[in-house]
């Protein structure tokens, strides 16, 4: 169990991920589904960023007087890209939601099934 306690942040992200997934599956409102997706993505991003942490690591800025250990900067760079992807997906989803509302007049998934 010591391993789990040491990685308690990882467990938290898994829980957050599952909360997001639950919202996507259980909620009927399309906006809420999208919010669930964003929670899920945030969990993934936070997980990868923390994976770059090194014990007692400092910011990886090389200059006079800089001494290691440094935190790994790579996950931050990856997640910047990941955030851009997530933003574009959210924007596209919102525009689709607007289109759905214009066409069908509702955003509840169960009512939309009837409208199809």
């Amino acid at each position: 169990m010591a391993g789990l306690w040491q990685n308690i942040d990882y467990a938290a992200f898994v829980v957050l991920f599952c909360i997001g997934l639950y919202i996507i599956i259980a909620k009927q409102n399309l906006i809420k589904k999208l919010l669930g997706l964003n929670i899920m993505e945030t969990a993934v991003f936070a997980f990868i960023v923390t994976a770059g942490m090194v014990d007692d690591g400092t910011a990886p800025i090389v200059g006079p007087g800089a001494t290691g250990p440094f935190a790994s900067p790579l996950p931050h760079a990856l997640i910047l890209t990941g955030i851009v992807v997530a933003v574009s997906i959210t924007a596209l989803a919102l525009s689709l939601i607007i289109e759905i509302y214009r066409q069908c007049g509702t955003l509840e998934a169960d009512e939309l099934k009837g409208a199809e």
Partner: protein, 491 residues
């Protein structure tokens, strides 16, 4: 020239960014521009394919930063899918001209071509990258442009289908990214070859199992396998036909190619065994074959029929992977390529019929065999190929998968392969009957004219390839043999 490899994925991406500016005030230029760029990609990937035949797999180091630190582009035998992707995209773009003018609202036509170029660049990047995070980025490029393309035609249900697709796609992408993060936390590397080596000595079993299961599940959702296929039929039937051809023939295959890239990472690892996973894949594949074919029989809408048949064929490929023998995996690899040709031919031929007649159900399309003889003929060749009758391209993959099932001592799965083909034969008979032998439901059907040359051309080229792909089947089999050997030999 060494630089063809990076040029193949990046030229269409840059070209896509330039398209709206170039076509500003001259919307007619968008298609010509997209066709020219895709023709360039076809040339580039053809040269790359020739090189891989002569020399075997090769890498390109982006920006002079050596792998494992820099990003590596790697072209191996499976990457030859890039040639099929570019070529089918080229035919789809040629086909799109007259179809899109009617099916897509005017101001969106430029965006249509822009999105298709992004889609092409993403797919090419996906099959040639040797870096896990890069794989994710290219996958997202393909996914986001596909979501938008599903909705591009407008209409009452298009946005809803696109939203469903977006949700399924984004959840699976998040899952895959999460697993890439787990692998990075375990190994500290993102280069595929490097990760595979480092995983071999990793001892913590639970995170590895999580990563393996998550990635497999994520890629299977992308591939539209049976229990997680719910997004596929709507998305593939509602969009304009050329988009169906791209998404059904090419985009779902990325899920399979993703699996082919990810599974070898775990080959050398002692902590996890791939055998139980292969067993699950084989069963899921088998169920998917029968379920997809079964749903397809009961469809009236010709495009929905083809969409369900995609689920069935993805089942064949996953079954081949799951049997994990030399023959079965060869069959799966071949069927990835041949199904792309066949499904593109089918969707484009169906698109030509819908374009000319305005109808899309079997009942309404009765008698079209006399009005549009060439298109109907091409469609029927495509259907023969998808059943897998001997001289056609579809036969080869299914034959190898069935042999692989016997080789693995699992004759039950060989029966499933055969049963799938028999079920498909039923809807072939229904189509044949409706197109040639029934009296037309609509009087004006006999006045429908054959499709214009720019639509008929690509359809006939694909139909011919459906036959040639079977007659010259030895070439692709020999081509992917080394890659299959690495995949099977390692596990």
């Amino acid at each position: 020239m060494a630089h063809w490899l990076p040029l193949a994925p990046f030229v269409p991406l840059v070209a896509a960014a330039l398209t709206p500016a170039l076509a500003r005030g001259r919307p007619g230029w968008a298609r010509g521009w997209a066709v020219a760029m895709t023709a360039f990609c076809t040339l580039a990937t053809a040269l790359l394919t020739r090189r891989v035949i002569e020399e075997g797999p090769f890498s390109y180091v982006l920006g002079g930063w050596a792998a494992p630190w820099g990003i590596e582009l790697r072209f191996d035998e499976f990457s030859t899918a890039a040639l099929f992707i570019s070529f089918i995209m080229l035919l789809v773009l040629v086909f799109s001209g007259p179809y899109v003018r009617r099916a897509v609202p005017g101001p969106r036509i430029v965006w249509y071509y822009t999105l298709l170029l992004i889609n092409l660049g993403g797919m090419l990047g996906f099959v040639v990258t040797g870096d896990l995070f890069n794989l994710f980025v290219f996958m997202e490029l393909v996914a986001v442009s596909s979501y938008a393309l599903i909705a591009v035609g407008g209409g009452r249900t298009a946005a809803l289908a696109a939203f469903k697709y977006l949700m399924a796609g984004a959840v699976s992408s998040a899952l895959i990214l999460f697993c890439i993060g787990v692998l990075y936390a375990l190994t500290g590397s993102l280069n595929m070859g490097d990760v595979a080596q480092r995983l071999a000595v990793v001892e913590s079993r639970a995170p590895m199992l999580l990563a393996l299961a998550g990635m497999t599940a994520g890629f299977l959702v992308k591939a539209g396998l049976f229990p997680v296929h719910v997004w596929l039929p709507d998305a593939h039937a509602i969009a304009p036909s050329p988009i169906n051809a791209v998404s059904s023939a090419l985009v779902v295959k990325l899920g399979i190619i993703g699996l082919l890239r990810v599974l070898p990472l775990f080959d050398a690892a002692d902590a996890v065994s791939l055998v139980p996973l292969y067993e699950v894949l084989a069963w899921l594949g088998g169920i998917s074959i029968v379920a997809g074919a079964f749903f397809a029989i009961f469809q009236q809408d010709i495009k929905l029929m083809l969409a369900y048949s995609t689920i069935s064929n993805i089942g064949y490929i996953v079954l081949g992977l799951g049997l994990a023998g030399q023959l079965a995996v060869t069959g799966a690899g071949i069927h990835v390529l041949n199904h792309a040709l066949i499904k593109a031919a089918l969707f484009l031929a169906a698109g030509a019929m819908i374009h000319r007649s305005g109808y899309r159900t079997l009942r309404d399309l009765r008698g079209i065999g006399r009005a549009m003889p060439w298109t109907t003929f091409a469609l029927l060749i495509g259907v023969l190929a998808i059943i897998g009758l001997p001289p056609t391209a579809g036969f080869l993959g299914k034959w190898y998968i069935a042999l692989g099932a016997l080789e693995a001592g699992r004759p039950g799965f060989a029966v499933v392969v055969l049963a799938g083909a028999l079920l498909v034969f039923i809807y072939f008979a229904r189509m044949l009957n409706a197109f040639y032998f029934r009296t037309p439901t609509h009087e004006e059907m006999l006045a429908v004219r054959e499709a214009p040359a720019s639509m008929l051309g690509p359809v006939l080229v694909l139909a011919v390839l459906c036959v040639l792909g079977g007659l010259f089947g030895r070439w692709p089999v020999n081509l992917i043999a080394p890659a299959v050997g690495r995949l099977v030999g390692g596990g």
